[in-house]
Amino acid sequence: MSEIVIPYQVEPHPMTGVTSGKLGIWVFLASEVMLFGALFSSYVLLRVGTPAEYWPSGVEAGLNVPIGTVNTIVLITSSITMVMSWASLKMNNLRGFKRFMGATIGLGLAFLMIKSFEYSLKFSHGIFPAVGWPEATDPSVFNALYFTLTGLHALHVILGIAVNVWLLFWGISLFKSQPERFAGRVEISGLYWHFVDLVWIFLFPTLYLL
């Protein structure tokens, strides 16, 4: 409905100092904090409720710390390329934006590929989320948590990649007419992407190292 103009989509609101989109994404992230908070709290509850000898460390459970470390670095790198793509856009450097955004998407995909490689490695060692999988050898609550938490995180990564791909190939047409608005969209997507990175920063030590 083109003809209605809803204010504060591009220009910041005088009282809050941010655009509607930015306020919206932060409210969304607050809700995401609660989602991952609930998952994290469940992790603590289940771990505390389990006798220590039944709770494997990540390595004991067959997690591969070097792969996890590489993935952490990949995700952190994608975070800086994301912020660089936004900064390039702010400096009117469309080529830089495209390059950095492309890198972000590429790194996101790399993260997913490493993750799926990790999953297949686990499957081949008989590590599954639970019993009921024919080849499962050592199911435990830890494995269930590992697959659920990383799986949910991977879903978030996929969503972030999808948004970034849309921005890079379709959303970019907005840049010619309303560069500020487009930069705002990239910033919002970036905030989400950094949040996904931030979740991983907690997931990595929780699952792999402790």
Binding site: P12, M15, T16, G17, V18, K22, L23, W26, V27, A30, V33, M34, G37, A38, S41, S42, V44, L45, V48, G49, A52, V65, T69, T72, I73, I76, T77, S79, I80, M82, V83, M84, A87, K90, M91, N92, G190, L191, H194, F195, D197, L198, I201, F202, F204, P205, T206, Y208, L209, L210
Partner: protein
């Protein structure tokens, strides 16, 4: 054009900060992995890992997500969220503080 030049200069400064934060994040990742190989007692290991993770998360939130220079309304929103996050963490506590121990039956 000069105004946008100044802005560009600003962003160049920003980029320097971003790179520094990136390096710090990389270093901290290796630190936390290295510490995990020390096989500290569980409590100490959890403390160290969570402190490092919190520092890393603060760097991401503070610089990449611009929280350090963000408007008040966002900070208030996050403060509210943090309060409820704390109540969420009461959940495991609520199951731990259970019934009083009974004499051996």
């Amino acid at each position: 054009m000069s105004a946008s030049d100044v802005e560009n200069e600003d962003f160049k400064q920003h980029i320097k900060v971003y790179v520094m934060v990136f390096v710090a994040l990389g270093v901290l990742t290796f630190v936390t992995v290295a510490v995990s190989y020390l096989r500290l007692p569980t409590a100490a290991a959890i403390t160290v890992a969570m402190i490092v993770a919190t520092v890393k998360a603060s760097l991401v939130a503070g610089y990449f997500m611009h929280l350090l220079s963000e408007e008040k309304v966002i900070l208030w929103l996050l403060a509210l969220c943090a309060a409820f996050f704390v109540t969420l963490m009461l959940v495991p506590l609520a199951t731990m503080v259970g019934i009083a121990p009974l004499w051996p039956l």
